[in-house]
Subunit: 133 residues, 2 copies
């Protein structure tokens, strides 16, 4: 089977909750708080996440337009030149995966309170990993 | 629709090629070279990736066993205690997504030569992003 015919199915492990409406373009420029509400069945997997840690969150840009090849180069809002999609953080990409590094403020039950959000309310969360410098 | 019923379909953008058989457990402990062979239709999207840069690669652990809840806590090979899956880099996780930070050695046409691989030969690549400290 050629890789290009290989389809990967993923199910969100949870959802982002935030009351923020104006979302910064990137986590490195964000001071937005919110909550990662993880499916209760995965709660035990959160047991070693502590306040003060940074975590890597992989999510799905669920409101992005469908990617077509005309988006292979894009001009980011803060730049003045067109750049290859794999060198920028645009939500419009072949696989609409996002990655944010967030500060953990609190963990209670199946909910992680975080700072540094650049995801919209309702964003599906796919994975959480430790942040390794 | 509940998030838990929401299915996300992804298609690999390319494949890892390496002759290495012994794969380090993590990119931060790897000195393995290899190639990211990206689908030719996405070549233009690679145009701003340069030798000397670090890139973030999101990939799929295509040889992982199916995740079940008994894998919510696992003891990593280099640790002596059981940890929550979202605090470790195990390939056995609810969504079998991997993340590596790799050093770019060369870019030619649709192929990126990298150092720091912790993926097996044939691993499907899902996304490439700039590395932001």
């Amino acid at each position: 089977m050629r890789q290009s015919e290989f389809i990967i199915n993923l199910k969100p492990i949870g959802t982002v909750q935030t009351t923020a409406v104006e979302i910064p373009r990137h986590w490195s420029a964000s001071d937005i708080e919110g909550r990662l509400v993880i499916d209760k069945k995965y709660r035990e997997g959160l047991k070693d996440i502590r306040p003060g840690q940074r975590i890597v969150v992989i999510f799905y840009f669920h409101q992005s337009p469908v990617f077509t090849l005309r988006y292979l180069c894009q001009t980011p809002p803060h730049r003045d030149k067109s750049m290859g999609v794999f060198s920028i953080c645009s939500p419009v990409r072949p696989n609409a995966l996002g990655l944010s590094v967030l500060d953990v403020l609190a963990v209670k039950d199946n909910i992680i309170t975080v700072n540094g959000l650049d995801m919209r309310d309702g964003t599906p969360i796919l994975d959480i990993k430790p942040h390794i410098e």
